[in-house]
Amino acid sequence: MDPMTKVPAPARRNFLKEALAGVLGFVITVIPGLAGLAVFLDPLKRQGNAGGRLVRVASLGAIPADGTPAKFAVVAEKIDAWNKFSEIPIGAVYLRRAGAGKIVALNVICPHAGCFVTLQKSGKDFLCPCHDSKFDLDGAITSPGSPSPRGLDTMEVEVRQDEVWVRFQSFQRGKKDKVPS
């Protein structure tokens, strides 16, 4: 008989066999699938930094006296999957003196889509290079066409003697309210 000839399905179907073959086929494929799925979903259990953490960012003397913002790297301990770093950059902030002893800290990340905003040469406002949003020195939106849902994120600042500490935190992008991410 020519091996390429296809035999027709038998007239009397054996449902028990068909069901069993189907169930077994399902079981054997689903087990490795589930094992893979569990590991794939593992990132869901990892916690972000909801409360933020207090990080020493700069000494008071490093912040310009004239009220112009200055950019500082935030260097802190970080657990990155298997590695534990004692000091590694985790972000950046703009620090500015706003009157008597008050320091304002702004996260450099644009709340719209996460681009790194830059201080304009004039030193009077911030510009997001991705969608041309402008923010004033307090972080409020100044350009009417800005797609950003909120102004730049401020963070809690503590001055301890001559050291500026910031409660560094990231917030979800694209939302009207500041929701920790």
Partner: protein
Amino acid sequence: MKALLNWLDERTGCKKLVHEALYENIPGGARWRYVWGSTLTFALFIQFVTGMVLWMAYAPSAQTAWESVYYIQHEMWGGWFLRGLHHYTAQAMTVLLVLHLMQVVIDGAYKAPREVNFWFGVGLLFLVLGLSLTGYLLPWDQKGFWATNVATSIAAITPVAGPAVQKLIVGGSDYGHHTLTRFFALHAGVLPACVIALLAGHIYLFRRHGITAKQPRRKADAAFWPDQVLMDAVACLAVLATILLLVIRNRGAELGAPADPSEQYSAARPEWYFLFLFQFLKYFPRGTEVLGAIVIPGLLTALIIAMPFIGRWKLGHRFNLGLLFSMVAGAGLLTYIAVVEDSKKPEYLESVKAAHWEAERVKVLAKSPSGIPAMGAASLLRADPMTRGPKLFAKHCASCHRHGGGDGMGNPVADPVTAADLKGFASREWIAGMLDPARIASPHYFGGTKFKEGKMVRFVNRDVAKYDDENKEKLKKVVLALSAEAALPAQRTADQQDAVAISEGKKLISSDEMRCTECHAFGKADEDATAPDLTGYGSRQWLIDFISDPAHSKFYGSRNDRMPSYGRDKVIEPQAVELLADWLREDYYLPPAAR
């Protein structure tokens, strides 16, 4: 639903495809002997699924490979299970490949017109072995590192192109980042792509020629669905059950200590299914290894490839059968010999035990609050007193000293004891023993040294031996105070509790009454001291200074017996002296439960 299927069928012809797949004709009906190809396809499916997810968490570089596998194994949801599934399915595939090959040869399925398909199959066999070989290195643990080193060194003995081939495989002349990136690209990219191509050809040709029916046919012809599908599914389930059993029994695949080119690993062996080659090579004396590693395996492979032609001759099929059976039996025998030989080698067994210990230890260190540094987990073991201390002790100290009667690694020592047993050094128990007339002159303390008849031994034997109850109480306080000088981590709580007795003991050590300061200095410099300074006795700095230079005036000075000045003469690196001191003081990380 039906309308949707019809719509799809009109555009893709999927119904015909499914029909062709399911209603393949099987002459003589379904049989158990036809299941092997399906089990292999199923095993390959598992490898693709598990491999893809492992890929999402694996980072191939010398400082991250072991670390990312550690993370998969011990931190990620079900990671140990996934990795175990991948590991044991790889082993199952090797077994299934041999069974499939045997079934094909026994049934004569390699003969015309199926020669090309047979070669595709042989090609797949070698690709799967290549996947095993490359996968073995990826965790970058001691076992994979050293075993793969052997494999790539063997590649280098290939005539003419060997050294260049080795460099290309290894990604340079040394093992490093590029070894991993290349092995990983081969393992997850090149080889799987080749497998898919060959497998597609294999299945296409199999469908073209149809199954090689076993004669005589027992039953009427039948379709693939459902009888053969059911048999295949049952066989796949049996394979999966076996794999799951191994995964769960062994809690996934083993992960050894991270690769360290400076640490010996005598337990390096290839994966069990390559053991026969490893054993085979042992029979080839120097200069002839190329025969055992390349020429003979190459010739045997050529014979397998030539089977379809050999099979045409009158006795060809029988020859093929004989060849295959003797190869399988020979490999089995060689594997057996390799296992038996290893089980009789004490060094091998010790090495396996030590390897397990280090694998557990590095896990504890990786879970410790300090975690895995950017330098990688191998640096954790290199800086760990509990790991390095015993090795350093066995190398530098154990020819005279003992540690709990052994060499520090728990092995007996043949040399005579000529210095103190340092297990528990400076602890209350240890100091009390030294001040005990019954023990001070034993080999455990000064018995093996020239101080056996020294002033200290004489003092203990004459004065301490005659102590009345009041003096015995004072001596106890002296012991507490002297031991507290060491500030041993294990005695931290006890030292705090006995603070009063310790301060009284300190006064007693300084007093003339106890006679300590006649020879020793304590609490202040004493130029006339002739015995080791008791200030900070057994503390970290004291011990480091002592190991560095026991002949320093602060310690034995010119009266020093035989102990070398390890630090002063730069025999032991400063960092190693510190590790030794920390280990002797049992000052190393232990998980909270073990404290």
